[in-house]
Symmetry: C2
Subunit: 195 residues, 2 copies
DNA sequence: GGTGTTCTGTACCGGACGGTAAATATATCG
DNA sequence: CGATATATTTACCGTCCGGTACAGAACACC
């Protein structure tokens, strides 16, 4: 066991609570009192354990990707491009309308537009979105070489199309759309899938 | 002419400059110094002419709807549902990737997630998004009765689908997608349109 | 040319922001 | 039992926030 006074709170639980707050209020809209109250720790403890507000948000982002948004990686492992697309869309609907979550997508509305101080977080979120789209494009490329995606289809176009819908779903959920409504959007979107 | 000292600036031009700032930084991310500097007026003049930050933002929203986003109303006047959808999608692409604009859509990322102080603005934006979708649904309903939209099509589903894509386009543009890329997204999306 | 009215400029308000110094409490190690 | 190391607590820092009081400047009216 480590020397010194042991930590009086569970960092994992604290991170989970911070995630919920950032998810609901975005990066800029979340204040340190918001965080310390939700995490039930005081400010110096937060700084000692997580660095600062920005570092905490990045840790929260990783947790988000490994937890609520883990469906993305799972979707990429589906056997066919069509099923990848289906799973991505329906997984997104589940995520953004899950009543146990704050609603919407942390990665989309965490810092879409923001002041100068949050620009670095904004860029980080953009980078993650771009990276996710790239992974999807590569998956569709592979599908093409494997023959389950038509030779005339464009992996880049399809990846961008699916990504666009997923992001649109996040905005819709933030505007109050229901799970059922968004499932129908996903279904409609899939009608555009190449034969 | 009105009595008293005349205003030393053009309110229309000032509003236009405020629009650009809010568009780029969102409601919360925009500070009063950001505004007064861009508008080239001092703070008491801003308050005398526009009320306060929130009232200014609402005026900016109206200007946005009547200016850059006026394509929405025009789109609704297209003769067929299919052409309404086309015009809406391509108009959105033009708007969110117009190099003369800040990029993205003010109504989408103005206040998607925010702190307690901005909740009233967030609700206002949600209300406007919902209203716009309702107008589109009614237009598709009309199209159905006029016969240019298949009897089996769902106006509600289609309206939500198109709205979702438009909002996704805004996020894509904020992530750096090019006009050409998003035009291809719009084209792909239209493949889902009912025969 | 005074007078009333409105706008501009400066300087300021209380409060909230993100972040930290310093003292105290609680553990392990010798 | 010290001695050492880490965590918590309280209290505070400078800065920026949105909003405004007040005095002076520029016009219309009589």
């Amino acid at each position: 066991m480590a020397v010194g006074r042991p930590r009086g709170f569970d960092t994992d639980q604290a991170l989970e609570r911070a995630l919920k707050v950032f998810w609901r209020k975005g990066y800029e809209g979340t204040t340190l009192p918001d965080l310390t109250e939700a995490m039930d720790i005081n400010r110096p403890s937060l700084y000692a354990a997580f660095g600062n507000k920005e570092a905490l948000f990045r840790k929260v982002l990783d947790r988000y990707a490994d937890g609520p948004a883990a469906y993305v990686r799972e979707a990429l492992e589906e056997p066919t491009a069509r099923r990848v697309a289906e799973r991505l869309l329906l997984g997104a609907v589940d995520l953004v309308t899950n009543p146990r979550h704050p609603g919407g997508c942390l990665a989309v509305h965490g810092a879409l537009a923001c002041g100068d101080e949050a620009q670095s977080i904004r860029r980080e979120l953009i980078a993650r979105r771009v990276k996710r789209e790239a992974a999807l494009r590569q998956r569709f490329q592979r599908a093409k070489s494997e023959g389950d995606l038509s030779a005339s289809a464009s992996p880049a176009d399809l990846a961008r199309y699916i990504t666009t819908i997923v992001q649109g779903l996040a905005v819709q959920a933030a505007s109050g759309a229901s799970r059922n409504e968004l499932q129908r959007v996903a279904k409609t979107a899939l009608r555009a899938w190449p034969k």
